[in-house]
Amino acid sequence: MSYDVTFQRRGLDALFDLKGRAGAIRGWAGDTLPQLPDRPNTRSSGGEVEVYYVGCDHWLARAPLDQEEMLEAQLQPATCPVEISIVRVSDTLSFFRVTGPDAPEVMAIACPLDLHEAAFAVDAVTYTEMFGLKALVLRCTGGFEFAVEQSFGDMVEDYLTRATV
């Protein structure tokens, strides 16, 4: 059986791992980042920068790679207050996009989470499993996007190829 779906391995994005109380991060980041999401496992966006609420006092900021230097200059990870942590992690995740009418079926092969829109809304983003690996899963136009640890990228690409043939 083949699926009406396409998948694409994406290039790098600028990623910053943010830890600490929301108020402290807001106070340090100022207008550099959009409003932090209030609900766990959701995201907010402002311009081309997105912020994902992925854990207790834990966020990921994502932007196009060409904004990495500018974000680093504004977030100043090396001099941030001790109560927060900002770490550039751009090269630690490999992102994949699975799009097409059968994207939910392909995702269901790999992921135990209920990804129906009633349970996994448009603004949802969460860490869960893909092919047994820890993965960040979110929706994108026409399907889903997910990210796994960069070193598993080739393996996951192979898994997706086999799953969608």
């Binding site: 766990p40 496992n41 992925v54 854990g55 207790c56 834990h58 135990p112 989470l113 969460t126 860490y127 869960t128 499993e129 047994g132 690996l133 820890k134 993965a135």
Partner: protein, 85 residues
């Protein structure tokens, strides 16, 4: 397959978690207990026929540690972390 209630993420598949073992007794003062009681504390894990309090780590999720009460006879989660249904 268990659906384990995470305080942050809600009910998630057991496969996202790593079992952290049962919650044991508080560490006794080794000078105030007998040798047998000390060895019991070090080596005997709670293993009741019925509800047992367990630690679980949401390793492939948000990273939280949580404790639940699981009935070893039925596999039912009889008490979830605070605020979770």
């Amino acid at each position: 397959m268990l659906l384990i209630p995470c305080p942050l993420c809600g009910k998630r598949s057991e496969s996202e978690f790593i079992h952290g073992g049962p919650v044991g007794a508080d560490r006794p003062d080794p000078n105030a207990v007998s040798d047998a009681e000390w060895v019991d504390y070090l080596t005997v894990a709670p293993n009741p026929l019925g509800p047992v309090q367990e630690k679980w780590w949401h390793a492939r999720g948000c990273g939280e540690w949580l404790t639940i009460w699981r009935d070893t006879r039925t596999h039912d989660i009889v008490e979830a972390p605070d605020g979770i249904k």
